[in-house]
Every structure is written in structure tokens, then in C-alpha cells.
Amino acid sequence: MTRAAGRTFGLWLLAMLAGAIIVWNTRFSADMSFFLPARPSAEQQVLVDQIKEGVVARLLMVAIAGGDEEQRAALSRDLRGRLAKMPEFVAVQNGEAGSLDAGRDFLFAHRYLLGPAVTPERFTVAGLRTAIADSIDRLASPAGLMFKTLLPRDPTGELFALVGGLDTGAQPASRAGVWASRDGERALLLLQTTALGSDTDGQETAIRLVREQFATATGATGFTLTLSGPGLFAVKARATIKDEVARLSVISTLAIVAVLFFVYRSPRLLTLGLLPVASGALAGIVAVSLAYGTVFGITVGFGSALIGEAIDYSIYYFVQSGRLGAAAWRERFWPTIRLGVLTSVCGFGALLFSGFPGLAQLGLYSLTGVATAALVTRFVLPPLAGDDLHVRDVGALGRALGRAIDGLRRLRWPLLALAVAALAWLGSEHDRLWTANLSALSTASAEDSAVDMALRADIAAPDSRHMVVVRAGDREAALQGAERAGAQLDKLVAAGVIGGYDTPARFLPSRATQAARRASLPAAAELRARLATAVDGLPLAAGKLDGFVADVAAARTMADIDRRNLDGSGLALVVDSLLLQHGGEWSVLLPLRPPPGSENLAIPVPAVRAALAGSDALFVDLKGEFDGLYADYLQEAVLLSLAGLLAIVVLLAATLRSPRRLAAVLLPLLVAVAFVVAGLHLLGERLHLLHLIGLLLIVAVGSNYALFFDRLSAARDPATLASLAVANLTTAIGFGTLALSQVPVLHAIGVTVGPGAILALLLSAIFVGRAGTP
């Protein structure tokens, strides 16, 4: 090794070391944020918050099967007892009676600060009389009978008014005193984890604890545990991606090493050839880590494709410079390779502008990786490798390929006709080509989704699809906003437009409201005087209501209810899940419930929007937003793909300076794209956003081959042709490995670009540089 080579190698080593340190300290994630918008609208922000930290994202549903009803119920109680003690769970519900007592006691004790009906009018003689008469009427009904013992202390029925707005609708079925599936064959529990939905480690711990405690509780009998929820999906997705990153990289590396060893027959060249690849993969992760802070597992998984693509440059160098020497290679081949690198950069670079964070990361990762690999090949590899490369003569392979291509050229017109037919067919199938749903990109298996759906239906888990959101600078303003929105929603409830809604202000009213309610309460002597008149003629004597007078007097001096007062009851959970703080901003969520008995439980969206018009409250349809996300991404991906394509065309046009040559280079690429789309559709693959990106990459990667045929008449030079064939094979292996992935994002790119790359080479050989172009 010469001094210059040593210096270059040293610099390279330093850079790699620095990169390794950065990667070591990088946070890798496999959560939903891969799919969540980088620049969300106000509505989308609500969705993002809900997915990352919302209550629904923290729910785990558990089903116990096996044994008989009583055994399952006992196991359910046992498991609840075990989990409820653990700090990893904020709530463990299984429908056991008595679990709501703490909440009810709190509501009763604070009814005069919480009661929606507590107004000055309520405590006038007429108001008292009406309220007490109503309470007595209610005693004639089983609905009111449960308030009987409370009547002497709560004759105006404040507790009744307070719990009247609570959700009493859907509840799971119950067997032997605990929740059960509708067929009664499984006991159900609903857990809420302390860990946020975005905290995959925390979710994994929670799930492990459930499984461990279940195993301890059952011993070794025939009970089974089924678990589902967003947390489980996240944990599984991460495990899948982790497993695949390792597996796919190993497969792709081994296959490529085997190909290279066959071509080079030299461990030294093999090792040298892998240098640019390793550098590129490392640089890619470093760039993503520095730009985004967090690297998605899927991004790293894309590495196997990068390996296949980045190895091309060293293949070109070794095979092509073998005869010519490094200097001649730089002169003759490097400009074409550089142009190919630039077209690849255009393709990947277009993704950088995506609002879909996963896509932007893939773009940055690949762009950096490819550019680094090319630069290392150009500047580091030649001095390290030296001049005596001893590359085996691959001319024979090239000559054989040349003859095959000559044969294939006769198929030009049939191929063109086939491409036209494919396009026409795709045009007619247009409506069936694409899936219009973000869930197509989800890593969750169909089986897991089915389990989740079944459990969700059984447990009647809240879907909280529609909600009203109020934002403010502090807690008090947020709660006041929630109360204003609540007043509008109350009208909708009264009109039967919606069934009801939840609000944190029900259990934690704003201080202003608490003060107003406190001020509505008359002093003890005054209240006693009014009561005497009010109950005249009613079957309830004023003398029995001393408890009421005492409670009202106590409420007049009661301190404001604070969030801390709710600790220890289920109400704390409700308030915390609906009142969120982000730095200096507070937001209140008011989930809406559909009107009882309505068809498919729909919320009449226009009516709700109209009721909230003019207020600062925002109506959000979470499912609509989620579905809309994909439409946004797809629309953006179409634009970005077109922009990427345009950039490639402009780059090629500027370099080739001939419309005819430009057309000749582009034609095989577009034919390849048409064949790939038609082939995938024929095989029943439903195309989505990532297939579209794959198509862009076919053009970006495939143009490298077309350029070789155009500028270097590769078809007539056996060594160049052989290097192209080997490089193409490694690229196809790299991308093709992704097709094995269970992660839809990777799979889609794999099945698109893998075959697309081979087609691009073949079609370029057939169509480009035929008639002795220079």
C-alpha cells in the first residue's frame, strides 16, 4: 500500500469510526410514526396525539379461554388482582362489581361543585320544589330507587343529574360476574398500560407481564390467553422488522457474495468490493440519524436493497478497469457511472420532500448510501486496490450475453406491441389496480387483525372515532373551552342528534364554573327557610333533610376540586386521557357517542359541525383523518414520482443533448415499468403507494444500464456487458430479497424494483444503441 493509499484509507477509517459512534447512539424505532404525517394539520395532529399517547393506543384486550365459566371467572379475578397492583397498568377492568365505588363516592361528596344543574334558580323555593318533587317521582321507579338512601342528603337529585350523562350504553356481556365474550366462551379483561402507545418497550413489558402473570395464575392447565391491542401490534411489528432486517441483509449479502466470488474468484477483490457498500450503508444510517434523530427499523431493512445497488460501482470498477487500468477507467467509464449515480440520486431525492416520514427517510438513506458508495469506489477503492487487480477474464460471459442479446433484438417489435397491449389492459383495469387504504401498509397480519376485531366487538371497546377538540394555553382556559363546547353538545344530546359525549370538565370543572356553582348555594338559614316553603304539600318533611342543609353548607366552603382530588378513582384516568398537555399547550378531547339505536352507530357529522361553527372547538373524525392520510400520501407520492421522473429526464436531456437518444434511453425504462405493473396485477398484487415509489426507482436505477448501452456501446464490448450483467444481478438480488419481506413497505419495493431492474437491463440491451451509436 502506498503512502497516499494509506492516508486515504486512514481518512476513510476515521469517517467510518465516527459514523459507527453516531449509529451506536442512534435511537431505532418501529412504531406507527413511520406512517404519521411529518407536517400534520390541526385535525391530523389530534390523530397523531391519539396514536402516540391517546388512551385507545394504550388499551390491551385480554381473553381467557378454556375450562368452565366459573374457572374462567376465577382466573379473570385472579389476573385482575395481580395486574392491578403493578405500576405498569393504570387500569385493569374485568367487569367485577364494586370497581366503581371510589368514583361514585367522589361524585357524591363533590356533587354541588360538579352538578350540571347547580344554578341559583335550582335553590330558589320554586326550584327546590320542582327538584324534590322530581326526586320523589323517581322513587316510584327502579331507576330512582338506587338513590333512595341518598335522598335525605340529596333531595334535589344532583347525583342523578351528574351520572345521567355518563355512558351507560354498550357493555360487554358478563358471565359469573365478570366480562365475557358474546358467546360466553371467553372471559375478557381490558387493560390500560402506563406506557404510551408510542413506547414500544413499555408496551412489550406490559404484554410480557400479562403473559407471565397469566402463566403463574393458571399453572399448567388447559387455559389459553389471547391478547390484542395497538401495543401488541407495535411490539409484533418491531419484532418482525428486527428479525427481517437481520434475515434479509444476511440473505442478500450471502447471495451477492456468492455471485461476486464466482466472478472474481478472489477473496481480496471480494473484500475490497464490499467496502463501498459497507460505507454506504453506514453513511445512510448516519445521515438519517442526524437529520431525523430517530431511525425507523424499516429504513434499516431497506439496507438489503442498498447493498445490491451500491455494490454495482465496485463491480464496474473491477471488471471494467481490469484491462484498462484505473486512469483509463476514470476517463472512459466514470462520467457514465457518475451520470447513473445522479439519476439514482434524483429518484431517491424526490422522496426527501415527502410528508410521509417513512418515505423521506428511505429517500435520504438510499441517496446518501448510493452517493457514498459511488464516491468511495471512485476515490478510496483505486488507491487501496492498486493496479494489479487480476480480475478473471469475464469476456466469455460477455460474449455469450452479446449473442443472446442479438437474438433477443429480433423481438423488438413484438415486445413493443406487448407493451402497448399491457398499457391498454392496465388502462381498462385502472379501477382495480390500487388499494386506497393506509392499512395496506400496516405490518399487522390479517390473522392478528381478525383477532383484534373479534375482541374489540366482544369487549365493546370505545372506538372514539369522532371527537371535538378544544385547545388553549392553560388548563383553566382549556376546561372553560370544554364547558362552552359541552353547552353546544348538550343541545345536540337533547335533540337526539348525538347520544352523548365525554368531557373532563364533568369531573374536573373549570375553577370559574366551580366558583359559580359554589355561589349558587344559599346559606344554611336561608336554605332552611326556603325548604320549609318548598316541601309544603310534598310527602317529604323538611325535618328529614338536615343532612342536605349540612352538605350544602359544607360545599359553600369546600376548596376547588383539583386534579389531585381524583387520584385513586377511575375518574383520574378519564380526566388524564381527555385533558392533555403538550409543552405550553393544553388540549381537551370530547369524544362523541352516537345516538342510541341509530343505524350503524353513525354520528351526523354536518349537524355537529354546524353546532360548533363559530366556536374555537375543532371537530375531528379520526378514522376519516386516518383514511385521508393515505389519500394525501398517495397524491403526494404521485407528484413526487413525476417530479423525480422529470428531474431524471432533464438530467439525461442535458447530458445526452439529443431528443432521439433521450427517447431511446427512456423507452426501455418505460416499457419495463409497464411490464412490471402488468405482471404484478396479473399475479393479483394490489398496488399501493410503495409500488408507485418502486416504479420511480426502476427508472432511477434502470437508467444506469440504458446509459451504458447508449454512451459506451456496451452491447459490443463483452467486458462491459459482463460487468453490467453482474451488477444487474446483484441489484436484482438486493431488491428481490425485499420481496420476501412480510413488511408491506419493503415487500412492495422488492417485487417492483427486483424484476424491474432485470427488465430494464434486458430492454436497454434490446432497444438502446443498436445502430452503432458512439
Binding site: 367487569g95 362489581a97 320523589i136 317521582d137 323517581r138 322513587l139 316510584a140 321507579s141 327502579p142 331507576a143 333512595k148 338512601t149 335522598l151 335525605p152 345521567g164 351507560t168 350504553g169 357493555q171 360487554p172 356481556a173 358478563s174 358471565r175 360476574g177 337533547a494 337526539g496 310527602p539 317529604l540 318533611a541 328529614k544 342510541p596
Partner: protein, 190 residues
């Protein structure tokens, strides 16, 4: 006449007049189970220690065997109470309250006393109550005493009276001494 001969006589009489002698809980249950459902008016009077006067509610009830019961109160305030299997729903003043009775064992025991009586489901009744029958097939009185301590804490006794397969009144005596009496008058013969 010795006690033994008396026993023999009674036994003989029993054999000779089976329909008369066999009126027991099993027979009552069999009669009740044959009831095909129907409509009835009711008057419900609640005697509460807290109030100076009893509360009276009136309305109609419809029973569809074996597990659907609708109680429609007309006075003093309209209210509809529906029992469908284990779902109890109460509609009152635009409010609808649904209770899954399976989640509330005490309420279920309460409801089972009505439902078990109407449908002649002895097993359901004996799950929570000790049954005592007196009277004749024409005029019987079935007394139910809660056997579960949790239910006994709420309820002292349920007394159901009737004629043949028709329940005429149900009286609940609560543990605190309050009681309610439901008097039932069939509207149309089946």
C-alpha cells in the same frame, strides 16, 4: 285411630285425588310455565319510611315468555322498563339507561324473582331464594326468602300471590322496612 292409620288414610286419599293433593311448588311452577304471556294493568304502591304518604304508580305490563317483560308506567311519570334476557333498559324523560344484569348479581336476583315466577322456573328461583308455598291452586301464596347474604342485606322477603297460572300480586319487603306492592290485573284472557 293411631297416627299410623291416619298416615295410611292420608296416603290413600292422596292416591285417590292426585290433582288436589299434589299442589306443591312443582305443580305451581308447571302451571306458571304454561302461562302464554299477555298484557295486564298494574298498580304499584310503595311504602317508604322517608315519605309521609305512599307513592302510587300505574301502568301496563306485557309478558312474553320466557324472558321478555315490558313494564310501561303511565302515572305519575311515563317510564318504560324493558327486560330482555339479561338486558334491563329504562327509558324515562328522554334518558335511556341500559343495565346488563349479568354485571349486577343483586339486581339479577331481584329480576329473577319476577321472571322466575312468571315463567315457572323453579331452578332460577331456588338459586337465590328458599320457597314456601301455601294455599290452594285457586288461591296460592308463594313466599321467597333470600338465601344469599348479599341479597338478604337488601331484601327481607318477596310474597307472590295468585290463582292457577296467573300472578296477581307481588310484594317486596326490603331490608330497611320499606315495601312495595305490585297488583296485577290481566287485561284480556288468553
Amino acid at each position: 285411630m293411631t297416627a299410623r292409620r291416619l298416615t295410611a288414610c292420608l296416603l290413600l286419599a292422596g292416591l285417590a285425588l292426585p290433582a288436589w293433593a299434589a299442589f306443591d311448588v312443582a305443580q305451581l311452577m308447571a302451571d306458571l310455565a304454561r302461562h302464554g304471556g299477555g298484557r295486564a294493568r298494574f298498580v304499584e304502591t310503595r311504602y317508604l319510611a322517608l315519605l309521609d304518604k305512599p307513592l302510587v304508580a300505574t301502568g301496563e305490563m306485557t309478558y312474553t315468555p320466557p324472558d321478555r317483560l315490558e313494564k310501561r308506567t303511565l302515572t305519575p311519570k311515563p317510564e318504560i322498563l324493558r327486560l330482555d334476557k339479561d338486558m334491563l333498559s329504562i327509558e324515562r324523560e328522554q334518558q335511556k339507561l341500559s343495565i346488563n344484569l349479568a354485571n349486577q348479581p343483586e339486581a339479577l336476583a331481584f329480576v329473577d324473582s319476577i321472571r322466575g315466577t312468571l315463567s315457572g322456573n323453579r331452578a332460577a328461583l331456588e338459586k337465590n331464594y328458599a320457597l314456601h308455598l301455601s294455599g290452594t291452586q285457586q288461591k296460592w301464596v308463594l313466599t321467597m326468602l333470600p338465601s344469599e347474604p348479599k341479597i338478604a342485606a337488601l331484601l327481607q322477603r318477596i310474597t307472590v300471590s295468585g290463582s292457577r297460572d296467573q300472578v296477581r300480586s307481588i310484594e317486596y319487603l326490603q331490608a330497611d322496612g320499606d315495601r312495595s306492592l305490585l297488583v296485577i290485573e290481566p287485561v284480556a284472557a288468553r
